[in-house]
């Protein structure tokens, strides 16, 4: 009787078995990596209606974050500054700049500028800026070095695992209170020592890792 299949097919089942296992593992791995916030969300840089430059204001002029984001120390939200905050200075400085046209219109028409939100956590996540600032977590820990961003982009994944990594081991992200808004601060050699002292000072054991810490 003639053979139905050529000889090489004798080994085919083995190869198919090995290949399918590999394909499943590799596809899973790829999806797991590429569909994660680390890959999808980091680098999100929407075009803002007004070409506001954090680099100029924070990096070159050395303005403090809290000058505009006034809520950050006291409330869950840092607050996007209202038009008035811009005009406090730009009444005088570059009052006729073409770039500020929308801001001036906003002031005249009493309509807010439609800024595009960059850092957004899902509705079921309750993040509180003040809680992080008061214990000495710097702005740059989550937002990256804003002082070098011409247009702000998302620098960190803001995923649950990323949050948990810090909540489980926050020591590297605690800094002296006067360095909170410092964009270029790097942990010193004795960071562990400092963190221990800081935690004792504030009487904090560990940040919450309970579900209701963030989800409620």
């Amino acid at each position: 009787m003639a053979q139905i299949f050529p000889k090489w097919t004798n080994k085919a089942p083995l190869y198919v078995a090995i290949a399918s296992v590999l394909i499943i593992i590799i596809t899973g791995g790829l999806i797991n990596y590429y569909a994660s916030p680390l890959n999808i969300d980091v680098g999100y840089r929407p075009i803002q209606p007004v070409p506001y430059s954090h680099k100029v204001h924070v990096g070159d002029l050395g303005m403090d974050c809290r000058f505009c984001h006034t809520g950050v120390e006291y409330s869950p939200v840092a607050m996007i500054p209202p038009t008035k905050t811009c005009m406090n200075c730009h009444n005088m400085i570059k009052a006729d700049s073409e770039n500020l046209k929308l801001i001036r219109e906003s002031q005249q028409n009493k309509t807010p500028v439609q800024w595009v939100r960059v850092h957004k956590s899902p509705d079921y996540v309750y993040f509180d800026h003040s809680a992080h600032i008061t214990v000495g977590v710097g702005c740059a820990s989550c937002h990256g070095n804003i002082s070098e961003m011409e247009v702000v982009f998302q620098a960190k994944p803001l995923s649950m695992g990323w949050c948990l990594n810090c909540h489980r081991n926050p020591d590297d992200h605690l800094r002296p209170f006067d360095k909170i808004t410092n964009m270029t601060w790097t942990p010193p050699a004795n960071q562990a020592e400092f963190a221990a002292k800081q935690k004792a000072l504030l009487d904090i054991k560990a940040p919450t890792t309970d579900c209701t810490g963030c989800h409620r």
Binding site: T9, G28, N32, L38, M160, G161
Partner: protein
Amino acid sequence: MSILNKHPERDPSVAEAVASDELLVTGGHTFTTLTDKVSGIVEKKTPPQWYLLFAMAISGLLVLLGAIGWLVFEGTGIWGLNNPVGWGWAIVNFVFWVGIGHAGTLISAILFLLRQQWRTAINRFAEAMTIFAVICALVFPGIHVGRIWLAYYMFPIPNQMLIWPNFRSPLLWDIFAVGTYFTVSTLFWYVGLIPDLATLRDRATKLRKKVLGFFALGWRGGNRQWQHYEKAYLMLAGLATPLVLSVHSVVATDFATSMVPGWHTTIFPPYFVAGAVFSGFGMVMTLALIARKIYGLEDIITVNHLERMNKIILVTGSMVGYAYLSEFFIAWYSGNQFEVFAFINRALGPYAWAYWIMFTCNVITPQIFWFKKVRRSIPIMFVASIFVNIGMWFERFVITVTSLSRDYLPSSWDYFSPSFWDIITFVGSFGLFFTFFLLFLRFLPMVALSEVKGVLPEADPHHYSHKDGGAK
């Protein structure tokens, strides 16, 4: 010594056995006639009944798909569930189908290890039934969750949330238990199929030959192949045997580890396994009787086979009955008012009708099999097997729903009634089952040819050496 190693005409004891209908295959089949008979089913023209049944099965499947579609679109609320009764027909159906899935592996693995050679006539389609029943069963835990699209949270997949499933939860054990059971049963079934696929391949031509050849994995029937094959089959049987016991034990822990009165009982694992075997044999019986009639397999699935299955039904049915009674005893003995009430409520409460249907079908019905005449009467056993199926569905209903509907605080007691969607989802699951099963009957050998041949007189090494010189 087995009658198989003797020849009926030479050995008077064997001749006696034949006379008393104890031979495993009747009608004087030889290897050739058997092959023709069984292979013919898939090669020749399909009987018209098949088309009728298949149309019904496909309609049922479409109904199931429609019901699932609507469920995904609208939400779990389309079912009759309410606050105390969080699990209804979906879970009842799940346990029902998993239970049915028990008989196949029991017949093919445990009876194989126990050298029960009568199993060969029924093991193939019992195993097929197992696999399709487990597929039906797997549909339900998947669709009964509120957010079906997130059901993958139950699998331990590394993820950006750095969160794992809860390994303490019996539902998670279920996933592993049923998943493993499904994988091993399928593998076992497929391995068993290989020699028969090769037989079919050798009788086929063209594309059919190629397809069958692909799945026969180059089976040649050589000595070495048989040697490896038998070893693999034995190992798989060994692997599958603990699974038969574990899968329903784990399903039972869904109930037993919870604290609902009526669920919270250590008897559940063995009781569920006995019930599962019972229901599985009920279903095998129903299917065997139909298939045997349609395809004229009376010589292969003889009344002797059916009688043996009825004996198992009698034994497991009595075990189930014992479990029902001991539940009452334990509830009374515990002195726990919630437990006592849970069982009184089952028998006398608003679901008493369901309880007594269950009790009649599962405990009283199989008792008729004490009589040999009844054990060998095909119409009676057909009706009884259907009763067993009904009774076992109701057993799961009684356990799941009555216990939940009245637990600790009377303020939250409520009554569960199924909705239209509950009913058609259940009916639809039969569509899914029969679609697979009919396709199996149509395209694969429904009797394990190579194994049945092993129990034919012709398999006796001395068969050809007697004076007639062989083939009739």
